[in-house]
Amino acid sequence: MKTFTLNVNGQPRKAEVEEDTPLLWILRDHLDLVGTKFGCGMSLCGACTVHVDGEAVRSCVMPVSAVGDKKVVTIEGLANDGKLTAVQKAWCDLDVAQCGYCQAGQIMSATALLREKPKPTDEDIDLAMSGNLCRCATYCRIRQAIHTAAATQ
């Protein structure tokens, strides 16, 4: 066991865990940030996507020892003072979610994509979002919501 201090959503957060513990389980079990979801444990579904230094990362395969002092942002850290981001708002306005389980990961990937490409094409969306599975298959609305967010942000 080792104590790690992580920068999560702008706050220093401590966790006493084994070094190989994936960031996902630190967030969920130790820091009470359960918005980041477990789906596959092998970086195959994208439900666990968070931002590490601004990049979309699968937290289920990133050991805590690799996080260091990098800035971690989770779905809970996107909205500023309760104000939803353009992506979160588009997700609500277009009523994207069905079960909703994958959507935190979808939103984190979409947010990273829009930071990189403010006006993404359908091909850009295919490329950036193909690692995020939606078992309810809300893909039509995910695509639409990314375009809507791009137009409003």
Binding site: L33, G41, I75, D93, D95, C99, S130, L133, A137, C140
Partner: protein
């Protein structure tokens, strides 16, 4: 698209206080109000506080089908309250107050629509009566409008909050005596309304079963034998208990009952990762029967299909299938499927003082409670289950196995809450699978090119049983085209299998429609008729065909022809397309819904498939929530495509061979086509939409591939078929 909390209606509050207090001085009013002010709750479903807070409870599990929004909408419509003023709460499990609480069979809407309208109308009627009493006028002179009651002639008005305490004192009228709104006066139903949990979903708030957390909670893994129903002989539990973060490890004996407590090893840890790591370090000797093999079933099926079927399902007319070159034949095969919910199975519980409290992502709390009561020998009144939001059901969570094992673990940890979480490989390995099957079809056309004879030898599976097909593995005698062809022979052979079978989105239909609508297409081709025209002719005259033998559902040919024509018109059916591109059409009636689908695909010469577009027309009666309804149809159609294209569960040596999404792929956004949804205008009673749009997708896709390439696909998944053409 948000849930707002109404501010306190102070005027209403004092109005009630003044009435109750009569001539009290101002200073005394509040004390009187505290005594007299009462929440108006004419049923367990509705609460209106004197402050004007309107809460509507949603009785059924929310599994992504949108029921937590659409059922309360029905009450809100009749209650005549603006949706923005409504707070929705998940109901507790209590079938006395709420009736059957299940998410399955697309039945929530058809079985609750009338009842929910009446619930809303009863409350509205009482609020109107309370206002009429207050004004000493007849209720007929008053009208409920947008959360207020208005006296039509004087224009006086009182808010529901102001009327709550007085309405609470009135007797609740018989629901049969209240007047429902006219459908044409609906303000809310049929509109696009966002899901009530959307704001929490997009900000990552704890909603799901896997998000549950309680003080002092332990995290557990539960390891079952990879071979179905295998038992623990011995395991290195002493080593496991010494691993970092591990509190305990123990064996649960369980039984061979696929629906009860299955044998395994519980590992109790301080966090999920420690439990998962210890699971990987586990060395177990299992006592397991490894004979189950899908490959062996396949070989046997190939033999059996050449001969006679074991049982007749239905014979009508005079089905003769001479070997004269005019009998059309085709054998279809589809594989087992897993539900692959993105939220792996999980459950949280605490057992204390002989009682169990549980937080479960269950589609069917009643079955879980039954299973727990039986396995733990616990009286049902000692079991409390809270329904959490569910990260995908598709039928998997109708089964209570994950609740039973969590309860058994919690019982061992007396007083300590515990959350059991499965890994993905466990989730794929311990499902209740959509049964695979085979159909050997034979058919004959009459001189005019209509189907004269239809025969189907269905080979399916029973759970260690050669007489009774397993869950979701049967073929009913009324299955289309039964009742629509003059001569029919449906037969089956059941293979005994130890693979647990279950209800997978549109059970039965999800597989049958693919095979049947594929062979209908083959018959159309032999008849040299347009696939749409051939189907319309097969459905015949406008009429409702009654079920045979008095059970089952009537089949309304008029409605099915209606959706076929609608989707054909909207999708540009009949247009000339370039080589390598084709359109296919299919229809299916299930879950009381009539759905027809056109698929537009391109196939490269090398055999690469691209689905350009899917179009659907559905007749499911009036739509409750247009946003949710469209989302369900689009999602279930892409789900149908995903399964047909990529998915297959294979069992060898008694165990499932697929371990994660690289071996059991779900469709991704790049392969998901645009989906156009058209709802037929319909005055029939409203029916559910979680399932009926899925079955016609796979056959429409395969029929489109035939149109594009001339290749008839008779085996799924598509990813394993050679689609190349020249």
């Amino acid at each position: 698209m948000k849930t707002t909390l109404p501010s306190m209606d102070r005027r209403g509050f004092f109005r009630i206080s003044a009435l109750a207090g009569g001539g009290f001085m101002l200073g005394a009013w509040n004390a009187v109000a505290a005594e007299e002010a009462a929440t108006f709750s004419p049923s367990a479903f509705i609460r209106i506080t004197p402050e004007g807070l309107v809460t509507i409870l949603s009785k059924n599990p929310e599994v992504g089908q949108g029921i937590k929004t659409s059922l309360p909408m029905i009450i809100a419509e009749e209650l005549e309250v603006p949706w923005e003023k409504v707070t929705v709460e998940q109901a507790p499990v209590n079938e006395k107050d709420f009736g059957r609480q299940v998410a399955g069979g697309s039945m929530s809407t058809p079985t609750n629509y009338d009842k929910h309208r009446k619930l809303g109308a009863v409350a509205r009627t009482m609020l109107v009566q309370a206002a009429a009493n207050e004004w000493s006028v007849s209720p007929g002179e008053c009208e409920a409008i947008a959360g207020e009651v208005v006296h039509k002639t004087s224009g006086k008005r009182l808010s529901y909050g102001a009327l709550a305490s007085a309405a609470a004192k009135l007797p609740v009228p018989d629901e049969k005596t209240v007047t429902l709104k006219k459908v044409e006066d609906f303000k809310l139903l049929g509109k696009r309304i966002g899901g009530v949990d959307n704001p929490k979903i997009v900000t990552g708030q704890p909603l799901f079963g896997i998000d549950q957390k309680h003080p002092g909670m332990k995290y557990a893994a539960y390891v079952r034998c990879p071979v179905f129903t295998g038992k623990v002989k011995e395991a290195n539990l002493d080593e496991i208990r010494k691993l970092p973060g591990i509190a305990d490890a123990f064996v649960l004996e369980g039984s061979e009952d696929h629906y009860g407590l299955l044998p395994g090893i519980a590992i109790i840890a301080n966090d999920t990762w420690s439990a998962f790591k210890a699971k990987n370090a586990l060395k177990v000797t299992w006592d397991a029967d490894e004979r189950e093999s899908f490959a062996a079933h396949s070989s046997k099926a190939a033999e059996v299909l050449k001969g006679k079927a074991a049982n007749e399902i239905r014979k009508s007319g005079n089905p003769e299938l001479p070997d004269d070159g005019k009998t059309v034949e085709g054998t279809y095969h589809y594989p087992h499927l897993s539900h692959a919910n993105l939220e792996p199975q999980n459950c949280t519980a605490v057992f204390k003082d002989g009682a169990l409290e549980m937080w479960a992502p269950t589609q069917n709390p009643g079955s879980g409670i039954d299973g727990i009561a039986k396995a733990l020998k616990l009286s049902k009144d000692k079991i409390t289950v809270h329904m959490t939001r569910i990260g995908g059901g598709f039928g998997r969570r109708l089964m209570g196995d994950f609740m039973v094992e969590c309860a058994a673990i919690a019982q061992k940890l007396e007083g300590t809450p515990v959350k059991v979480t499965w890994t993905r490989d466990q989730d794929l390995a311990h499902d209740y699978y959509r049964p695979g099957g085979w159909h050997r079809f034979r058919g004959r056309l009459d001189d005019s090119g209509k189907i004269d004879t239809w025969a189907d030898h269905f080979v399916t599976f029973g759970l260690n049983n050669e007489d009774r097909p397993g869950n979701g593995a049967d073929l009913g005698g009324d299955e289309f085209p039964s009742r629509f062809v003059p001569n029919l022979l449906l037969e089956k052979t059941v293979f005994a299998s130890n693979t647990p079978l279950g209800y997978w989105r549109a059970p039965g239909s999800c597989a049958l429609a693919w095979a049947i609508q594929g062979f209908v297409d083959e018959m159309a081709h032999v008849a040299k008729k347009d696939p749409l025209a051939f189907r319309l002719e097969l459905l015949g005259d406008d009429r409702e065909v009654p079920p045979s033998g008095g059970r089952g559902q009537p089949y309304n040919a008029t409605r099915m022809k209606g959706v076929l024509k609608l989707v054909a018109e909207k999708s540009g059916w009949g247009e000339k397309l370039e080589a390598g591109r084709g359109r296919g059409i299919a229809f299916h009636f299930s879950h009381l819904g009539y759905v027809a689908v056109v698929a537009d695909v391109s196939v490269s010469k090398a055999g690469k498939l691209k689905v350009n577009k899917l179009s659907a027309a559905a007749d499911v009666g009036p739509i409750m929530n247009l946003s949710g309804a469209e989302n369900q149809v689009q999602g279930s159609m892409i789900d149908g495509l995903s399964a047909a294209w990529f998915q297959e569960i294979l069992v060898e040596k008694g165990a499932v061979q697929q371990s994660n999404f690289h071996e059991y792929p779900l469709i991704t956004i790049k392969d998901a086509p645009p989906v156009e949804v058209h709802f037929a205008k319909s005055d029939y009673p409203p029916t559910g939409l979680g399932e009926p749009a899925l079955p016609p997708v796979a056959p429409a896709i395969c029929n489109a591939i035939f149109a594009a390439t001339g290749k008839r696909i008779r085996t799924l998944p598509l990813a394993k078929q050679d689609l190349s053409w020249s």
